[in-house]
Amino acid sequence: MTKIYEKSPAFFETFERKPSQQLTTHYCPGCGHGTLNKIIADLVAELGIQDQTIYVGPVGCGVFIYYYFEGACASAAHGRASAVATGISRSNPDGIVVSYQGDGDLAAIGTSNAIHAANRGENMIVFFVNNNVYGMTGGQMAPTTLIDQKTTTSPFGRTEKNDGFPLRMAEMMAGLEAPALVARVGVNNPKNIRQAIKVIRNGLEIQRDKKGYVFIEVMSQCPTNWKKEPAEACEWIDDVVCKQYPLGTFKELPADRQPQKRPRAEVDFAAVAKLLGLTADDETGSQEMTLPQPEMRFKFAGFGGQGVLSLGLMVAQMATQRNMEVTWLPSYGPEMRGGVANSSVVIGEDPIGTPVVDVPDVLVALNRPSLDKLGPLVPKEGLIIYNSSLIDQIPADLKGKVYPLAATTLAAEAGTVKAANVVVLGFVARMTGIFELSELEDFLRETFKQPALQEVNLKAVSAGWDVAGEV
């Protein structure tokens, strides 16, 4: 029978991570992550479990798995993938939960999460990708770094006196009673990969049959941070790393045991909402704001640090105090430094459908990238307020009504450039007519208790307010 080895259908056809790089992963050349991703995707497709599989991603080099695996994905905070996977596994008893973690994630910050999930014998498979270093942050020493191994934070090599011994997670997990399968595999050569495929297939079958917790440690090469050529790094695993971390199966419960049923907690959401006072029986007529239209959608954008998130928060808080329906949604790039941060605020008289603002009625752009990116989204009747202190050129394709506001300059005159967002608050309030100056001042007095700060912000808000009067 002809067998074709090709890209697994459990992968997305294109990876939407970056517009310029839609076909390849973000892994470095020769990285073991890619090989493991391929093994998992091939087996998920082969076992026909793609529709049930739920992946939980870590923080670390594996963080972007949600761009690669076509299936349900969740991203956990650093080290918490096993805990998040526990919740997912409990609430989706029919799902197959895959927790994918690195050694900085599972063996350092998330050790307790991982061990307790294993000790409870949750129905999940944990892939522990061990490359001996913190890969994504540039090769710092991890708990799994070998003795004498040089990293950026152990430039003279790890010593057991100072840093302890390399942590053998698989052996630790094998000491627990609950896990159904604990193994260590390698992805550094065809022989090890064939063995890894066998073990991982077994592990996924255990998940399919709901027979408990599986822990698979995957020894992965990291050519970039080991400062070796890919081929050399793969050999180093065989020659050196596997002396400390021997491959093999450390624990396996008999295959004929019974499926592990878990208690499934039902949440009474109505009762929780009542407890928190989140009832929908707001008295009509208690709303104390008049909007130019039933729903106003705002976008405040700029560099991180310009106060665009807190600007949105101030508008949202003031509207909340006036019994309006309000959402506030911050957005800032997780992988980029600098760039565009923004907050989306929706204020409505009726319950709000979505907090996402695709078409803003009011756009505030405090830097040029924000104006270039978001300006063209504003419709003809919308307002575009841009920071003319920092933006000297506006895009040609703007449809909305454009107002320059020298926010940074006015803020500096008031006392500090950090108050640029408050200048904008005054300007926006007057332009849209949603708040009076006295209301803004009352709010700022409540927010800033320190007299010096209060004074600067009151000056800034009235500067913005006055400029709006001159338009």
Binding site: T2, Y5, T25, P29, G30, H33, T35, N37, I193, E229
Partner: protein, 79 residues
């Protein structure tokens, strides 16, 4: 060893490298038992020197597919 021959269906073992996806790590080259895959000086759109299929001696062992870390970069047909 079974060599580069057609099977009953007339399918020949073969390997294809999708140049645009290759990151040039070279792992496939060192694990190819027949030296079918070789390093090329051709630079792809990602800026990596890629692997090329240099001869028609592929036996369809699949080693290159297994060691390649990039999804979709190598396709192997094994009769």
């Amino acid at each position: 060893m079974k060599n580069n021959t057609n099977n009953e269906d007339g399918v020949k073992p073969s390997v294809t490298v999708h140049i645009d996806l290759c990151k040039g790590c070279g792992l496939c080259i060192i694990h190819c038992p027949k030296d079918v895959l070789q390093a090329s000086i051709q630079i792809n759109a990602l800026g990596y020197p890629t692997t090329i299929v240099a001869t028609a001696d592929c036996i369809g062992c699949g080693n290159c597919y297994l060691v390649c870390p990039e999804p979709g970069a190598i396709t192997v047909v094994r009769p």
